[in-house]
Symmetry: C2
Subunit: 240 residues, 2 copies
């Protein structure tokens, strides 16, 4: 299931992603059942917590049900980027710094930052992110900052590109903002790979309300597949 669309630079991620994806009992936790952190394992933040709204929990349950049919997989999420990277790929990367955090997981308190979980459908080359922006992401009063919307889009399309093409970095991101996203609401960030040309991965993304009635934003992204040379060597493995 992981063999399609392989690009030159994709070796590490495509081969190792399934292990990473399944290392933390993914897709076994239903809404309302909050998973404790196991000793020695990093906390997986892409699981329900007490701050998730009914809309968020309902959507999560729907996607979780789809994972049981095998086409979708939940993507775990940690607050340190190095935890996303399979063991072998860590060679050559800087050693763990305790004072760094993945930007989207930088706010510790539940519910006030980025509450999100991503699901991957590899046969559709698609990643859907359920996103509930918290009250610390404010831009205009009562609404999520345009930068926070850009951030969740960049991460979602980045995840999508990684699972299709391996190591990637965002080369271009273009967003049309149609309607502001209220803080505390839930939106679906739906991204897919449109085409792969050489080292370029072209993606598109829509940010919609749960009922599908409001298109909050749409975006296109171009990711560059990385190889272990030059800047790419310094930057290391792409991750969400």
């Amino acid at each position: 299931a992981w063999g399609w669309g392989l690009q030159g630079g994709s070796r590490l991620w495509v081969l190792e992603a399934p292990r990473s994806l399944c290392a933390h009992a993914c897709a076994q936790t239903g809404a309302g059942m909050f998973t404790p952190v196991s000793p020695g394992r990093p906390k997986d933040y892409a699981l329900p917590n007490a701050s998730w709204s009914r809309d968020m929990l309902d959507l999560y349950d729907r996607f979780l049900a789809m994972t049981k049919e095998g086409l979708w997989k939940r993507i775990p999420s940690y607050n340190n980027v190095l935890d996303h990277i399979p063991g072998k790929a860590l060679r050559g990367l800087p050693s763990r710094k305790k004072d760094t955090r993945l930007f989207l997981r930088s706010i510790e308190a539940e519910g006030v930052g980025f509450e999100y979980v991503m699901f991957l459908n590899s046969s559709e080359k698609r990643v859907v992110c359920l996103f509930q922006p918290g009250s610390y992401l404010e831009g205009h009063p009562g609404f999520a900052h345009g930068g926070s919307i850009a951030t969740i889009i960049d991460s979602t399309i980045g995840s999508c590109a990684i699972f299709v093409a391996g190591r990637v970095m965002t080369a271009n991101l273009s967003i049309n903002y149609m309607s502001p996203v209220p803080l505390g609401s839930v939106v679906l960030v739906d991204s897919k790979v449109d085409k792969v040309e050489g080292r370029k991965v072209f993606l598109s993304c829509k940010v919609q309300s749960v009922d599908g009635g409001t298109l909050h934003a749409e975006a296109t992204g171009k990711d560059r597949v990385q190889v272990a040379q030059g800047v790419c060597k310094r930057v290391g493995v792409g991750l969400c």
Copy 2:
């Protein structure tokens, strides 16, 4: 000095911005002199703190010197969006919610989030932001997340548009990422208004290293001037 480029929707901001800009002893604090918070006044985060690097402090001092010539003004920054809005313009907006924070000021600890200060040159229709991304903004190991770069660009061009055209919301943001920004480094985010057509404000922006030798990203933005009707009424006054 604030009378140029007035658009229909700009009344509140253009008339009241100078008061807001100068309400907090702006441009009087030199590098190394950290300003205590006055009782009853919100803390201004756009002032040097102990986390600022030598590069950041040097640049700050250079811009501060330019403010004394009168062409540049430092823009204060608070962690609650309502503190950016002049008193009269608050009417009709939701009352203060203590649990909301401006996205860029959501991380309390000094040095790990967005450390930045913006300077406005109104005659050039330009805002320059000095930005030092902290260790909680990580994307690829050791580098600032693309979403954090999008966020500082969106805020900088938004500030630029506000001072030219008044109430605005980002309509489009397109970013080319050239070179990743190392965590802890300092970059200049340099934005200007290219043209105003009706309610549309067109802006461009460059993110460069302090020595000018590295172009990290370039962007174009289109902001929509808001009027007090429909969505705009709900959204309120544009702010950075």
